[in-house]
Amino acid sequence: MDELFQSRRMWRRHELKPHYDVAIVGAGVHGLATAYYLAKEHGVRKVALLEKGYLGCGSSGRNTAILRSNYRTVEGIPFYELSLKLYEQMSAELGWNVLFSQCGHLTLAHNDSGVAGLRVRAENNQLLGVDSRIIYPAEIRRLVPALDVSSGAHWPILAALYHPPGGIIRHDAVVWGYARACDALGVEIHPFTEVTGMETARGRVERVRTTRGDLAAGAVVNCTAGWASTVSQMAGVPLPIVTHPLQACVTEPLKPFLHHVIVSATLHVYVNQTDKGELVIGAEIDPYQSYSFRGTLPTLEQMATYTLELFPQLHGLRVLRQWAGVCDITPDFAPIIGRAEDVVNFYMDVGWGTYGFKAAPGSGKLLAALIATGRAPELLEPFAPGRFRQGRLVGEKAAAAVSH
């Protein structure tokens, strides 16, 4: 209770030092999680988080915060499950409520091949111990009475993949909670400190240039999501990543009526209602590459159209804000985590596209282990940067493309 009444600073300000053990570029949820586990589990505390804007200004403060582990592949499922479990413990671990509401997640299928796609996931989930199953209209109607499950709907709902442990979290709370914990462990958080370049020699990053001065670090970690390819380029590491905007919008609050996350891959839309009563609606990525943060009218209209396909009664509800974030998309819709092949002290945790928030605790924990011990944990291996050269892609694309 004490903490309720005291207002301690969540994180302190620091001067930039000339040397750190680890310098992490990007203080989104991935950078923060990596720093947190480095300090907490490996005692690496001379860590600097270099962030060009305010804390959480990237996708970590713009996403729709859907968490789930009902992925499709044997590589993906245990990896996301690890994060989900860490999220369940996070409030207690950080002493800070991250508002994780495990309300359940439904992915809808509107045609036969959609149902088959869901079944692939349900089967693999069950075999690997993730709570996930296919449910049919009668049960869907019981869970989500607001949904139009009539067979006359233009996009009839034939089945859904029901994932009870999935849900939504307050993204900012995760960012702030991690930041507070990092600060308490001695990690330095440097907002408004943009990395502008790197000097490499003999296969190492020797210096990192920032808008507040230069520094050197034992290890440099790229956690910059939408800017990942530009930052890796500074270290001379090309990435097969393209950046696309992803948009979302939020409506006025309504009395609670929707208690699950609803995703339709066919309709490219996902909807949930927050604890404040607002509906949060997300779109698929914009069809073109861009770094633009400006919302567009066609995408907003599409989000509205598809939302009304599922919930026609909401036509009078007002959208209050739309926004965009930039997503780093890899060819196989799986992340790139690990050490660069040719630059020995340069690490990456990028390629998170439209789905990286849910994975941050797990990937931060595993990457911290790799940086601290030099050995890649088994769960990370499928996501190694070298896989594109070796033609070993991860088969998440079929499931991840729009289902956040």
Binding site: E123, W176, E252, P256, P312, L320
Partner: protein
């Protein structure tokens, strides 16, 4: 005119809004606040705050101060239990000590605790209730103009006339029911622009959209404009207005001042009071205390007095101590005195309504003189006119003013954030406007920041010592004001595509399958049976033993013509087509740069410079665009015509197909003269047709394309001709079974977003030696080099057929998946196409398939289940 409010009738006069009629009837409480459920009354009177949100005709969160009163409206309060005047949840404010900013982050510090508490917090959330009414008519419209002027006040009117006078086509948008802007209710601010309005109204080059609001400015000067009720059958119309030049003349809106109890019912902004007086003939109260200084405050004072309101002398903003009252205001304390009153009129900050400008990239610079953030650095395609520029304004109160943290001085009326909350948050390190906003949720409520942003910046600036300019505004995002989902979605069209043979199928008892927009027969009911399995089995048997007919009109059909047509196809498809002989057809696959299969079909060469392509049903548009994309800029002579809608197509297949077709054409159909993978143009039943000798289902067969309007004749003729042979139409389900026995792959069903032709067992479709084609780099390695997995055939033990998508396992671990499975009458067992690890892609290998949670053994087969040599296909 009379409407219903919470069940009681309320009289309204012409020109009334719902709020003004209620006000006249004595209603003062219009809503309850979000967090503490404090009673709230009219604050802005202009549709810009959260204080008058009600449920109107079932629609939640409607601002009744800008909703015209209409006969028969049904208006209800929302978010108060049981009533506006008494609300149980207002007890929440008694516990405010336990509800400081961010309390929920700090209180429920374990997942279990939060899981227990969340449902209760959730229940208290939200404002209006979800309407039950699914109907709602909305329209979209599109319009272009040389100049769009947003705002119909004096400066907007002048700008419209000036541009129209210079020869431009002008559209003027204003959100009030009448033109005139603030002069409609600020009568002492200047003369009424009656003459300007008349000139604008009569100018042939100016169209006026009054009562319409512009909610956003998007890339390329695209304005989103909503016109409520443009006609009787439409709730709202969304106009997409694109203008070469946009003049923003949106003026200012008024924002509150900070003092304890500044949210009491009866504390209202001066423009709200002026609207009541001048637009509705309503004195806002009996006795008013007016906070303000200077000319504008004098103007307000005079308005109040002439409306018969008793007033005290002006009270300067710095002198205010607090407002007093239980629910409604009863007095104002200032300069050590108590001023009894039933309304406090606040001359607040005038804020330039510059959202559209900053959405377009303009800066907002702090100007202490006028006490406002004023737009600067406008893009060349925009300009600003009037008060939105800051011209003519003077500061209502100096900013940033000293802040006394107080639990009842509300910065954000939407979410009940107070100066205390903001100061606490700043102390915790949320000292950037963007983080402050997210932590306190200030500016994120229904007012979209209009009531609170300036005050929040001022508090932040004061407490951090950074100044207004450096503190800065947060990003302005559309839509602002908010727009309904219905208006955004527009009319809900659901086009359905029917093939030219649709009625033939309907007459024969087709059961439909939706494939995208298309309707296709899944199977046909017969007099004997309507059971799917029985019917499909009979259709299957007809094709295998006699002859069957299926409508394949939904296939995408493209004609690619020209000297360089072969070159283009060589580039885009993996196989070679420039060397295809005239009169021959070839299976065709298309990959992306990563060598991943995107589509398949056939390509036939009808003449030296004329190819006929088919694509899968769903991918037609993509393939057409893909071809055009790769053609663009090459200078090649190629024309691509989409002929899908113009042709009907059927597939006639089975051992007696030849006998059937022979009755209708003069063509030599012998297996030499018209061999497998040949194509011809000839007449069938007197109809000009393209015939392809191909066989997806694995029997002797022809795909026949004819002009769409002749489709029904061809269908009937073929069925007539085949009657003696026992012909039967078959649907998609039988086709899927037939092709599965042949192990023919369906792209997108049996393949996924990472499948290469090699993995799908289609090595022969890739001509690696070709100089270039899309995907060549990725496919240049050996077809055997590391594969993720392989597509194999499975024969499943036991009776049960796995469902599509079932897991393939090895020792209980997931190792692959079934993509298509059916019971095969030919094999006498369930068969499947499935992805399995490379090591298991061996004839006779064993894997397990998971059927309803149980592992069942299956045998791998690499050959087709039916006629592996293709003898029947070629016969």
């Amino acid at each position: 005119m009379r409407f219903e409010f919470n069940g009681t009738p309320v009289e309204a006069r012409p020109g009334d809004t719902v709020a003004s009629a209620l006000y006249r009837a004595g209603q003062r409480v219009f809503s309850r606040s979000f967090k503490y459920h404090r009673p709230r009354g009219l604050l802005c009177g202009a549709g810009k705050c959260p204080n008058c949100l009600m449920q109107v005709d079932g629609v939640p969160n409607v601002r009744v101060c800008v909703t015209p009163a209409r006969d028969g409206l049904v208006v209800r309060h929302q978010h108060a239990y049981p009533s506006l005047d008494f609300d149980w949840l207002s007890l929440a404010q008694r516990f405010d000590a336990f509800l400081p900013v961010g309390w929920y982050y700090k209180t429920f510090r374990s997942h279990a605790l939060w899981r227990a508490a969340e449902p209760f917090i959730r229940r208290a959330a939200g404002l209006g209730v979800v309407p039950a009414d699914p109907a709602g008519e909305y329209e979209h419209a599109f319009r272009q103009a040389d100049v769009a002027v947003i705002g119909g006040g004096p400066s907007g009117l002048e700008a419209a006339l000036a541009h129209a006078g210079a020869g431009s086509e002008v559209v003027l948008v204003d959100d009030q029911p009448e033109l005139g802007g603030h002069r409609r209710y600020r009568k002492r601010a200047g003369p009424e622009p009656t003459d300007l309005i008349a000139r604008v109204r009569s100018h042939p080059a100016i169209s006026v959209l009054a009562g319409a609001y512009c909610f956003g400015l998007y890339e390329g000067n695209l304005l989103g404009v909503v016109q409520p009720a443009p006609h009787a059958r439409c709730r709202e119309r969304l106009l997409h207005l694109r203008a070469a030049h946009v003049v923003v003349a949106t003026g200012v809106y008024e924002a509150p001042l900070l003092f304890p109890n500044n949210d009491l019912v009866g504390v209202m902004l001066s423009t709200a009071a002026q609207r009541l007086i001048h637009l509705h003939g309503l004195p806002p109260g009996k006795r008013a205390a007016v906070i303000g200084r200077g000319v504008r405050a004098e103007e307000v004072l005079a308005d109040l007095r002439s409306a018969g309101v008793e007033t005290h002398l002006l009270i300067a903003p710095e002198e205010v101590e607090r407002a007093e009252g239980a629910a409604s205001v009863s007095a104002l304390r200032a300069r050590g005195e108590r001023f009894p009153c039933d309304v406090v009129v606040v001359c607040g900050h005038l804020v330039p309504d510059a959202g559209l400008l900053s959405q377009a990239g303009a800066r907002l610079d702090w100007n202490a003189q006028v006490g406002a953030f004023c737009p600067a650095g406008l893009p060349p395609t925009m300009s600003a006119a009037g008060e939105v520029t800051g011209a003519g304004l003077s500061a209502a109160a100096p900013l940033p003013a000293p802040v006394a943290p107080h639990k009842r001085a509300f910065v954000c009326v939407c979410t009940d954030a107070t100066t205390q909350d903001l100061c606490d948050a700043l102390g915790e390190g949320f000292d950037h406007m963007e983080t402050l906003k997210r932590y306190t949720t200030t500016t994120m409520g229904p007012c979209q920041g209009r009531m609170c942003q300036l005050n929040a910046i001022a508090v932040c600036a004061r407490q951090t010592g950074r100044g207004m300019q450096e503190t800065g505004v947060t990003t302005s995002r559309p839509p602002n004001p908010g727009v309904t989902l219905g208006a955004l979605a527009g009319p809900r069209h659901h086009p359905i595509r029917r093939t030219p043979l649709h009625h033939q199928h309907a007459d024969r008892g087709a059961v439909w399958l939706d494939m995208g927009e298309w309707k296709r027969p899944r199977y046909y009911r017969t007099a004997a049976s309507s059971d799917e399995t029985t019917c499909v089995r009979a259709e299957y048997a007809a094709v295998r033993q006699r002859v069957g007919l299926i409508d394949v009109s939904t296939l995408g059909k493209l004609e690619v013509r020209g000297r360089d047509a072969g070159r283009l196809l060589d580039k885009v498809y993996t196989h070679r087509f420039s060397d295809l002989a005239v009169g021959r057809a070839r299976y065709a696959t298309l990959c992306d740069d990563h060598g991943i299969l995107l589509d398949d079909g056939t390509i036939s060469r009808l003449a030296e410079d004329r190819y006929f392509l088919t694509t899968t049903t769903g991918n037609l548009d993509f393939v057409e665009q893909w071809l055009l994309w790769w053609l663009a800029g090459t200078g090649q002579h190629v024309h691509i015509a989409n002929v899908t809608g113009g042709l009907a197509a059927v597939n006639l297949a089975g051992p007696l197909a030849r006998d059937t077709l022979r009755k209708l054409t003069a063509l030599d159909l012998g297996s030499q003269a018209f061999s497998y993978m040949a194509c011809r143009q000839a007449e069938v039943a007197g109809i000009p047709a393209i015939l392809l000798r191909i066989g997806f289902v694995g029997e002797t067969g022809w795909e026949i394309h004819v002009p769409a309007e002749c489709g029904p004749d061809l269908w009937d003729a073929l069925l007539d001709a085949g009657r003696e042979f026992g012909i039967r139409p078959f649907g998609v389900e039988a086709q899927r079974l037939l092709r599965l026995e042949k192990k023919h792959v369906i792209i997108g069903v049996d393949t996924d977003a990472l499948t290469t032709p090699y993995e799908a067992g289609l090595n022969w479709v890739v001509r690696r030696e070709k100089e270039d084609f899309i995907g060549r780099h990725a496919l240049s390695g050996s077809p055997r080099s590391p594969r993720r997995e392989s597509l194999v055939g499975l024969v499943v033990e036991g009776e049960q057929t796995p469902e599509d998508g079932s897991a393939v396992m090895i020792n209980g671990r997931p190792a692959g998946r079934v993509t298509s499975a059916r019971f095969s009458p030919h094999v006498g067992a369930p068969i499947a196409l499935a992805w399995a690890p490379e090591a298991k892609a061996v004839e006779g290998a064993r894997v397990e398939v998971r059927i309803r949670g149980r592992a069942v053994t299956a045998r791998v087969t690499l050959e087709a289940f039916y006629d592996p040599e293709g003898a029947r296909l070629r016969a």
